[in-house]
């Protein structure tokens, strides 16, 4: 139980459900009843309601349980061999002594991954620790790692190829398997060198901009956009991809980030317009414990405020946009972690006061360490 809410996790569907104590009471009573008639009798005996209403309550509970028990179907990866004739563009990337090779088939496909890693791009004759191939064939995007197909999706779902690529890159850099991770949260994580804070929020609410500001103000960026949590220690791990900044935030960051003007403009799509990718210095450690989640809300001219927020608000934002492992052990670890952390909502517009507020929070969190 989290404050006023119960959180249930359903093994079959990998669904999380947030319910209030009153709903839990009705649900427990329903599950204990031997039949609909038995349940209806319990309800009618307890409260003065018509048969129609008891039937409606019982039907709602049945439908709820049915929805929560829809089987989770893992994706099946077909056995498709790598087509090396698509290796038109070759890039090597270097991460602290580890070299990764990526082949792309076109400039358009290159834009899915390369701009966020361009700062690590080098010409190297070193043996690559892993070789990736990303290409567009017919209407599908393919991702191979060491010549094994990892994902094939419609080209319009290119963000799934990006997500899968990041997962595999993290596995390579941290020497892990996909099954070692609790999940990848849609959010950005900042560390002060002791612990970390995960920033979440809808697209356009200023997560990345805030993290770029904090990274320029003495904190380190641990992960932007995709924050992975490992089962072994429940820590968030370093994700090397640069912070992606939309044009709307350029004016906020120009005076704060050194050499911001010299960062190349990347034209990714019509809506996002021009993007810039800000590389950040790697934190000292590869992973940090995370003791708080902050729901970010950038509001022009608003005063900075950091207020406690309910687990319901946090989960409604984070779960539908994150990949969470269906492994029961990992689901339990995720819920155990949630119990231990603080949850806030941050409204801000002023860059100085927001940095002060986050510094204060880190100090407060570190006292618990």
């Amino acid at each position: 139980m989290f404050g006023d809410h119960w959180i249930l996790w359903y093994t079959i569907s990998n669904s999380y459900s947030i319910i209030e104590p009153e709903f839990k009471l009705l649900l427990d009573s329903y599950l204990e009843s031997n039949s609909t008639i038995d349940f209806s009798a319990t309800i009618s005996d307890s409260i003065d309601v018509s048969n129609d209403i008891t039937y409606s309550i019982s039907e709602t509970l049945f439908n709820y349980l049915e929805d929560c028990n829809r089987p989770y179907s893992p994706q099946i990866i077909p056995l498709i061999p790598l087509d090396k004739s698509y290796r038109n563009i070759s890039k090597q990337y270097h991460f602290e002594g580890k070299t990764i090779q990526i082949y792309y088939n076109s400039e358009l496909v290159l834009k899915t991954v390369h701009p966020a890693l361009a700062y690590c791009c080098i010409k190297s004759s070193d043996v690559a620790l892993a070789t990736f191939d990303i290409y567009l064939k017919d209407e599908d995007l393919y991702l191979f790692k060491n010549e094994c197909l990892i994902s094939r999706v419609s080209k319009h779902d290119y963000h799934l190829i990006q997500g899968k690529f990041i997962m595999q890159l993290l596995c390579t850099l941290h020497d892990k398997q996909e099954s070692d991770w609790i999940g990848t949260f849609h959010g950005s994580t900042i560390t002060d060198g002791n612990s970390s804070i995960l920033f979440i929020g809808e697209s356009g609410k200023g997560k990345s901009t805030l993290c770029a500001l904090l990274a320029a103000s003495g904190f380190d960026l641990l992960a932007d956009d995709v924050s992975p949590m490992l089962s072994k220690d429940k820590h968030i791990y370093y994700n090397p991809l640069a912070i992606s900044i939309k044009k709307g935030a350029f004016n906020v960051l120009e005076p704060i980030i050194s050499d911001f003007d010299s960062l190349p403009l990347v034209k990714f799509n019509k809506t996002k317009g021009d993007l810039k990718y800000i590389p950040c210095e790697k934190p000292k450690n590869n992973h940090y414990p995370c003791h708080a989640i902050i729901l970010v809300n950038y509001k022009p001219k608003a005063n900075t405020s950091l207020e406690k927020v309910s687990v319901k608000t946090i989960l409604e934002t984070i779960i539908p946009e994150s990949w969470l492992s269906p492994n029961p052990k990992h689901a339990k670890q995720f819920l155990d972690w949630l119990i231990d952390i603080d949850m806030y909502q941050l409204t801000y517009s002023n860059t100085k006061s927001v940095t002060t507020e986050i510094s204060k929070l880190f100090k407060q969190l570190n006292k618990k360490l």
């Binding site: 990998n14 609909t36 779960i319």
Partner: protein, 62 residues
């Protein structure tokens, strides 16, 4: 009727628990019970890892 879900919830039948629950439902009352039944939220995580999905109309592969 409920056997299907009961097994999944791994609940044990317990009479004293049942009486307490009945009393709790009584205490909750008609209006709270009717309101409560519509208050659940079901959240499904993504089935595969993803980066930020594209904004409407922002697909570079269009």
């Amino acid at each position: 009727m409920n056997t299907k879900f009961r097994a999944k919830a791994m609940k044990e039948d317990n009479n004293s628990d049942k009486i307490t629950r009945k009393e709790a439902i009584q205490k909750m009352g008609k209006y709270a019970a009717l309101t409560a039944v519509g208050t659940f939220v079901i959240l499904n995580p993504l089935k595969a890892q993803s980066s930020s999905p594209p904004d409407a109309g922002g697909d570079p592969f269009d």
